[in-house]
Amino acid sequence: MINELIYVYCIAINPPGLIDELKSRGLKSISIDEFNVLIKNVPENEFSEENLRLHIADLHWLEANVREHINVIGIIMGYTPVIPFKFGTIFNSLEGLEKFVADYSGSLLENFELISGKEEWAVKIYCDRKALSKHIDELSEPAATLEKQIMASSPGKAFLLQRKKADLIENEMDRICKECGQSYFNELTVLSGATHLNNLLPKEVTGRDDTMLLNAAFLVGKDKVTDFKDMTTKLGSREVNSAFSVELTGPWPPFSFISINEKTQ
């Protein structure tokens, strides 16, 4: 007999039965206490610890499976609140899964309470530093003052001051980016129940020419989602900040707001 493992996608409360689409993809919804756990039996030759490690290094395998993971959770999320699991969480046995649910039932209920009626939205803010530097004299008083000095100086002195200004511009742009990111974050925080800051991603990863200055997740009440979206549009189109762009994606399963993490315990 082939030994099968249990891949867990998410936990839901009272899902409206398992939709055919998921059934045909081999998924099962099993009841444990008051919870419903979305699982799939997976073969050891693909998902044992050793095989999983090998597969992760294969980008095609990783992409296909990661998309499957989030796709399944997304479908369930359309019907009922879900607690998503980190990609690639596999139980060795049903007993182990049952023990987890029993041990963590209080914590699971707390998490459900936190996320129900809310959606996770992700906001990334980017700055086009080239565009920003063109407007620096309008946005920075020290830069404008120095520019006036340059205009009034002899060519030799102007040359030295230009070099000084180049450094000043970099520092001023850092300051403006920080202030802008913080003010956008504050405006959006007012409309959300919880926030989570993610790591900034470098240009080699985003593939964009502009610089990421905020990568945040917001837990937004369903009644506030329209306001939240409107606010991101408003922030993204502020005239004085044409160098900044705001990217909004969602609703996501509430990955960023689940507080069941054995690594930190």
Partner: protein
């Protein structure tokens, strides 16, 4: 059913998805589970970018 981001996931980059699913959600360790070790998103992202550039090049050279 409301439309969510997953319905439009073709438009969402794999990086955006990885940013959510790799190190967030319910995170378990210990004897009862097998789980993916921490993966550095930046490292993976660079690998993905390189591989997508390669794929693009292959597509281009295949078409022309």
């Amino acid at each position: 059913m409301n439309e969510n981001v997953i319905d439009r996931s073709r438009d969402i980059t794999i990086l955006e998805v990885l940013d959510r699913v790799l190190n967030k959600g319910v995170i378990l360790t210990g004897d009862i589970v097998i789980s993916v070790a921490d993966v550095d998103l930046v490292y993976l992202g660079v690998k993905l970018m390189l591989s997508s550039v390669e794929t693009m090049e292959q597509l281009k050279s295949g078409k022309h």
